[in-house]
């Protein structure tokens, strides 16, 4: 770490973030695939009414057997819910991680970028799952509840988990990963500052 370690880290992180964010936005299809597939697999594993997932670009559509009434031409028609979510809302953290690792350049930084990118996939998938669950639990109505059996405290838990994953986990996960992948940065900062007269 250089004498102006934190300032240099901030400056380089900002530069890298701005430089990488636009390319990430336009090439996120490939990054979206594993997260959406994993999220679909998790939903199918835990909920028998979740049949699978369909991906169009960065948008993941959960295919379900959850019935819901929809008004159409004066009639109420029964249809299956297919909530969708855009991966980008839960995927931008990877750019932050890349930017921070590029700025601090720990040993084997390229490998750490690859590891971090993979480790973030389950975090992104959790966000996608709770986004779908929120839509099904709160927009499905009584007919959907008959299939999902999501009631009472489970609704509260889904609301909390959705908010937590969207507002906290998604932006925070890359920062925690960076701390874990570059422990040397914090150690150097501590040792240098605590040994100053």
């Amino acid at each position: 770490m250089q004498p102006s370690g934190i300032g240099r880290f901030l400056g380089l992180s900002l530069l890298a973030l701005l430089a990488l964010m636009v390319p990430w936005y336009f090439t996120a299809n490939g990054l979206a695939a594993p997260a959406i597939e994993l999220a679909g697999g998790l939903m199918h594993f835990f909920f028998p009414w979740a049949e699978g997932v369909q991906r169009t670009g960065t948008v993941g559509v959960l295919l379900t057997r959850v019935g819901v009434y929809i008004p159409q031409q004066g009639q109420m028609l029964l249809a299956d819910m297919t909530p969708e979510v855009n991966f980008l809302k839960y995927g931008y953290g990877v750019v932050l991680l890349w930017a921070m690792l590029l700025a601090s350049r720990p040993p084997k930084w390229l490998l750490k970028i690859a590891i971090g990118t993979v480790v973030l996939v389950p975090m992104q998938a959790i966000g996608l799952c709770f986004h779908w669950l929120r839509d099904i639990a709160f927009q499905g109505g009584p007919k959907a509840q008959m299939t999902t059996h999501i009631v009472g405290w489970q609704l509260e838990a889904i609301a909390f988990a959705y908010q937590f994953s969207f507002l906290v986990l998604t932006p925070l996960a890359p920062v925690i990963l960076w701390v874990l992948l570059d422990k040397g940065f914090l150690k150097q900062l501590w040792v240098r500052e605590s040994s100053q007269p």
Partner: protein, 171 residues
Amino acid sequence: MIRFFSIFVGTLALLFGIEMLSPVQQSVVHPWTGFLAYASAHLMQLFDGSIISHDRILQSSASGFGVSIEAGCNGVEAAIILIAGMLAFPSSLKLKLAGIVIGIVAVQGVNLLRIISLFYLGQWNYQAFEFAHLYLWQALIMLDVLVVWLLWIRAVARETPPPETEAPLAA
């Protein structure tokens, strides 16, 4: 390291849970968000007299364009993460309190910049607004939280007697 993360995650979940409670939303978060709209409007009026605010809404009386400041854009979650990070890291109570107060001011200062920049970006181009709102500024605010936390750790290290040179998170 394990101790730090245990306290950090526990404090984070607790503070976030408290924030989500309806009485806290009504008595703290909503008024705070309204204050942010008010403060943003006053700052913007220094160079743009057409800006008005009402409750959580920031609006241009000239163009009619307006934005509502919602959860995730009021800096509360960012402040909670910072507080949890400072409470979990071993330091004196005095340094924790000073760090939390100064840190919240720093985070909210950048958040005001976010609100103002997004307001003008939204008037210019909606796609650019969405990009900056949902992805870019989210990452920038978290980077801000991290840098404030690092600066605070630097201050803690300077206050720590020389024999304790082992970094508390190094284990």
